[in-house]
Symmetry: C2
Subunit: 416 residues, 2 copies
């Protein structure tokens, strides 16, 4: 592509272009960080007012029943399920990914133990999102029974690392840094062939790429609603467990929302049948209610259309960066193969942090990830092809004019 | 009291009466269930709009730093601390009570083990809020190392139950059903004299009664922001650990928000120094931001003024029910002694469930708790003495006219 008009033409021909109207987008920003925090659905502000003024203010305690608050984790789970190849009553929206991983790893460890007590290794990748590794470390230390976390440096090392001592492979489908996407079907089959359980983290997958958890026969999954699903800052995460695993064991975060009859006030925990036992405590309803606004946009399209546009956006971004910024030390770290690419594209630059700050100062918001990585997320629901063009032009300006060398871009802060 | 005018006179003389103006109260309701879900602070609706439109919509990912989202669990913890006798950097607002109890029990078990490996009993009350017991059961089952949950039926049995085998006494300060309040200072001393750790659940205490965690030398505490603190439906809970216990052990829900340097993306968990290590995953910011609106009201009064009015309200309620409903089978289950009473009053009635439904139908919203208990919570920030009068008159009508026998009041639903 050589002209901005060509990008505009792609937008004109885009069958899901009008979904952008359903988001409250800042007019001064090209936002390429929806894989860290999605933008507000246009419906979110009004939904919050309804929850606060009508449901909370007028309905008060009655809204736990009458406004469906108590049922919301399950109802939203069912609404999210089609996006990840899950069935009804297999998903609940609740808590955080880290807390949910603890629940699933705890349950999976017991399932694995019941099958083969010798299996005491959890396999994962050193490049996994660190919190996933921290949770596995915390569980292993707590169990204090000789469990071990085995980390590989490259996806290619996974087949050798998953062995007859392996209880669980805990894999993040799309890497948060590089955008590398595993072949979920093939890796699940490999994990099962080795006699282990497959636990998937869908943080950068749900709403970004087609996922078919039941189709590939996965064992457990967690995921995030505040990235591609646009649920709001820190909106509750989700847990998936297929029906065959739901009732094998209770998980130790056995709070009252997972009880079979929470309002009987029974002093003994009796887990609910089904996915309900992965609930724990009372959920933050204002934040949770907003998750539905994001999910409702997906009802107007399907993940194949989203994926098609996603690949077109990342293809174009990679093409333009390589064509128009070729004289600068940018190295693509995202796979070129479609089958191995999620919905973001990352380039290394020796001064990645400063370059990203300079981009943000010009209204192009991507993200920086240690070390050296400029990360650009593409959310097909609201990102236009012309945004890709304009973002690359801004990147070219920042690199050509070396505006990133300004001292104010050197100080590092915390960005999730 | 014999006349409604006397209640109005008490309201006129009430030094904190005007705080009621800072809540968005339904004009058609007498709300006596603020100990289940507090009412919205008047500031909450606007605050939600600011978070959604400005912080999320305009600030986008930058708001994790620029709008102080990442720091909010600690900042709100410091704001809440004076209400419970805690110091700066001893409280974080995060997750749910159940999840936080799991963190604290896990840490406390390790502290107790380090002191004396023979101590393997967690003592609590059978009448404790069930979720607390479920979490202890879940942890004990997971540890699978001979831990035991020992439950007593009456507070008077606690001294004998806490013995040289006891690691932790997990006590809820104010009972959710009866309103019975423990003497926190005396019981903490007893627990310590027996060599155990004192873990307090402040769900029905924070914002309701004065609490002095550091003054009594307690070891750990959890609590709730959606009851007397008016944080919103399911708003995040809090964790307290005094500085002497914070760094003894990491807790197993070791997510990235508790890491010493979360944005270094270190694959190894290194817990933060201090209370930060009790954080885990990314928090729901819209719900959490609303917690501040509730806390801000407390800045305009103090817990002594709140407590004085609370006791006057519950005294009046008990007096009026016993005087004006004396011919009905109502039995007070809340202690008459001020030192043993929280901020709610409960009466048993053989048809408690139906009576409560009939009251709610007439706009007097209390709560029902199994078995047979009519529970009435009194939030001094917004409950008036005339509300007490009117509520008792409505109760008298419901009992006199036997409106509770209508068939529509017999079906039970879930109410948290």
């Amino acid at each position: 592509m050589n002209h901005r008009d060509e990008a505009l033409a792609l937008d004109s021909a885009d069958p899901i272009a009008t979904l952008r109207d359903q988001f409250a987008l800042s007019p001064t920003t090209i936002y390429l960080d929806g894989n860290s925090l999605g933008v507000p659905p246009a419906a979110a502000a009004q939904r919050a007012q309804t929850v606060i003024a009508a449901e909370w203010g007028e309905g008060l305690i009655r809204s736990w029943n009458n406004a469906g608050w108590f049922a919301l984790p399950r109802r939203l789970g069912n609404k999210l399920a089609p996006l990840i190849g899950a069935a009804d009553d297999e998903v609940v929206v609740t808590d955080t990914i880290s807390v949910n991983l603890f629940k699933l790893l705890s349950a999976a460890v017991r399932v694995a133990q019941a099958r083969d007590p010798k299996r005491r290794v959890i396999v994962s990748e050193r490049s996994n999102f660190p919190s996933d590794l921290y949770i596995a470390q915390g569980l292993i230390e707590q169990l204090d029974r000789g469990y071990e976390l085995r980390l590989v440096d490259e996806p290619s090392e996974l087949p050798a690392a998953i062995r007859d001592d392996t209880a669980i492979a805990m894999i993040t489908h799309v890497n948060y840094r590089t955008g590398y996407m595993h072949d979920m079907a093939a890796l699940t089959k490999l994990i099962h062939d080795k006699g282990a359980l497959a636990l998937w983290d869908l943080a950068h997958s749900a709403g970004a790429v087609p996922v078919d958890l039941n189709g590939v026969g996965a064992d457990y999954a967690v995921g995030c609603t505040y990235k591609y699903l646009n649920g709001g800052p820190g909106s509750p995460a989700f847990v998936w467990a297929p029906k065959r695993h739901q009732n094998e064991f209770a998980q130790p975060l056995s709070g009252w929302w997972g009880h079979r009859a929470p309002f009987e006030m029974d002093p003994a925990y009796r887990p609910d049948d089904g996915i309900g036992r992965f609930l724990c405590g009372t959920q933050p309803m204002v934040s949770m209610a907003l998750v539905e606004c994001g999910l409702d946009v997906f009802l107007q399209t399907d993940m194949q259309a989203v994926r098609k546009k996603s690949l077109a956006l990342t293809d174009l971004f990679i093409e333009l960066v390589e064509a128009r910024c070729s004289e600068f030390p940018l190295t693509l770290v995202t796979p070129r193969e479609h089958a191995q690419r999620g919905s973001h594209a990352s380039f290394e630059h020796p001064h990645g942090y400063e370059v990203m700050q300079a981009l943000i100062a010009r209204g192009v918001i991507g993200d920086y990830r240690e070390p050296h990585v400029l990360r650009f997320g593409f959310t097909p629901l609201y990102t236009r092809f012309v945004d890709v063009w304009d973002a690359v032009e801004t990147l070219r300006e920042v690199l050509t004019q070396e505006t990133w060398r300004a001292p104010e871009f050197a100080a590092r802060g915390a960005v999730t």
